[in-house]
């Protein structure tokens, strides 16, 4: 199989200047194409910048916005992930990542987890997405696309892998912080992300692609350090911290099969077990206890998900 060349576009968008960022995307896309890339990944909110606050509504685009379609038109023979503020029909704003392929907008993922703590204030300005799906790509494998904080929640990578993803892509605008000298790379945030991406790649036996921006918005600096991790958990490439650049990495997609044959972790996943226990936990947390009688007995068969719904009783009629 021909290796897939992945281009990581570790660049610094200009805050709130949509037209300029669009132009920059077109240039970088052309550069990636010239470098022979088959998959080009831009960072979270690369089209708008991150620290938008009330500017979010001013730079929002619908997914059929001519400007986005115009960018998509330049993706013949390419798979490209770009990220922008998406305005829905009902005028909710989302942080979204779109897969652009062969001239069209093929798929849009809306950020599921919006950090609103510490230096983050996303929930104030954005709505959270509520669909987690993989997408078939022209690359011949399913892609699992997530945005930054989505990967700080364990179930996301697992769900994407169970849904068939062989290549996980996380696009980020991760603000660097914690310079304590005890860290392996001198930046606490970088250490955390390296751990996360290696873990996801290894446990889902998938490729994991991390594209993080650089540059500054207001007081925060984004640290780059984009990576490609093999299904074995081995880092194939790590971009420098803070340096702008278009970095290409060649991967053998066949490595996914080899890894999954040798280490059949996905085969051995127990989603039905998760589902059953999650239903129980959720019922308990929301005060809707599940009738114990409908639970499988010791050593019993696991019923279809719908089976337990009938036995549910509402404690708060």
């Amino acid at each position: 199989m021909q290796p897939l060349r992945i281009a990581l576009v570790q660049f610094a968008p200009r805050l709130g200047v949509l037209e300029e960022n669009l132009a920059r995307h077109r240039e970088l896309l052309a550069e990636a194409r010239a470098a022979g890339a088959g998959l080009v990944v831009f960072p979270e909110l690369g089209l708008t910048g991150y620290q938008l606050q009330d500017l979010a509504a001013e730079v929002a685009m619908r997914k059929d916005d001519p400007r986005l379609l115009g960018l998509a038109a330049g993706t013949d023979g390419l798979s490209t992930v770009v990220s922008f503020v998406e305005e829905a029909d009902d005028h909710r704003l989302f942080i979204s990542a779109a897969l652009l392929e062969d001239g069209e907008v093929r798929f849009v993922h809306r950020k599921l987890f919006l950090p609103t703590y510490g230096l983050f204030d996303e929930r104030r300005f954005f709505a959270a997405g509520d669909r987690l799906r993989t997408v078939d790509s022209r690359l011949g494998v399913k892609l699992g696309i997530a945005i930054c904080e989505d990967f700080w929640h364990l179930g996301v990578a697992e769900t994407l892998a169970l849904d068939g993803a062989q290549l996980l892509i996380n696009v980020s605008s991760s603000p660097g912080r914690d310079l304590a000298a005890i860290h392996e790379v001198g930046l606490g945030t970088a250490v955390s992300w390296r751990t996360l991406m290696r873990t996801y790649a290894q446990l889902t036996t998938s490729f994991a692609v991390f594209c993080n921006r650089v540059g500054m918005d207001e007081t925060i600096s984004f640290w780059g350090g984009s990576e490609v991790i093999a299904p074995s958990g081995e880092a194939l490439f790590t971009a420098p911290l803070f340096d702008e650049g278009l970095y290409t990495v060649d991967v053998e997609l066949g490595d996914v099969r080899r890894e999954r044959i040798g280490l059949p972790l996905l085969r051995d996943e127990r989603p039905e077990l998760h589902l059953r226990e999650l239903r129980r936990i959720l019922a308990h947390r929301t005060g809707l206890e599940i009738d114990e009688a409908s639970e499988p007995t010791e050593g019993g068969e696991v019923g279809p998900p719908g089976a337990k719904a009938a036995g549910r009783r509402d404690r708060w009629p």
Binding site: L15, G16, Q53, L55, L179, A181, G215
Partner: protein
Amino acid sequence: MSAAPGGRQGEPNDGAGRLFELPPELAIDTAIARRVIVDFVRNQLRQAGFSRGLLGLSGGIDSALVAFLTAEAIGPENLLCVLMPYRTSSPESVEHARLVIERLGCASDLVDISPMVDGYFGRDGQPGAAGVAEGEASALRRGNLMARERMCVLYDRSVVWGGLVVGTGNKTESLIGYTTLFGDSACAFNPIGDLYKSQVRQVAAAVGVPEAIIRKAPSADLWPGQTDEAEAGFSYPELDRLLFWMIDKRRTDEELLAMGFSGPTVERVKRLVATSEFKRQVPPVAKLGPRTTGVDYLYPRRRPGSARK
């Protein structure tokens, strides 16, 4: 990444004479700090439509470090260092400031603030604009006025120089409120406001600030022989450690005591932090209209169109 000498150093030049004391938990990666700060200075200026900066150079370590980092960010030819001694300021302060200017090769300016301060408070029994009713003004009043006169000079020079005022206050003094509101804390942006004094020393050593400046006791230089540490009653390494565990690491009083900090010190520092909250925030505006700045009108400072043309 810049290859700063001693980029990962946690060893503050031990050996013959220890340059400064660095509590291990405060040690940072100075190469990354340097990179982030230099980018920050460059970005702040560029986004505002400026290529030049200026700062008040006191001869102390904070402003010396900011001068080094600003010169690195925008080139020494774009930096103006303004020396603003008062007649009782230590001559050593001006000497040390000159050392920095020579090392960097940046522009400098000296403005004696004595006539301004004396014009207000009077001198040698002669009354100033403030009158004589209360007798000799307290050290607090005099110190505050000096800090604010320096602010006035800097902002006036910023027009002539065509640059922005770069702040030089560190995290320790900001947290305990050892600053003058609209005085030394006034600036367009502050590159070192998230570095404790101990970390300022660490970065200063890494970027080559002259040793004499790193080694000397920090002082507001408001009267001869004054030092911060004598005035505050605790050392910077001790204070930095306490603030770090209390604020950055969210330790409770009980946990701080168990770590060996003394009860009265913890109490006193907590009080200093709480009573100086107002100095670290923009003045509050009474909420009346549909959209109020800082409340529900929230734009980035550097929004499109905000830069000077």
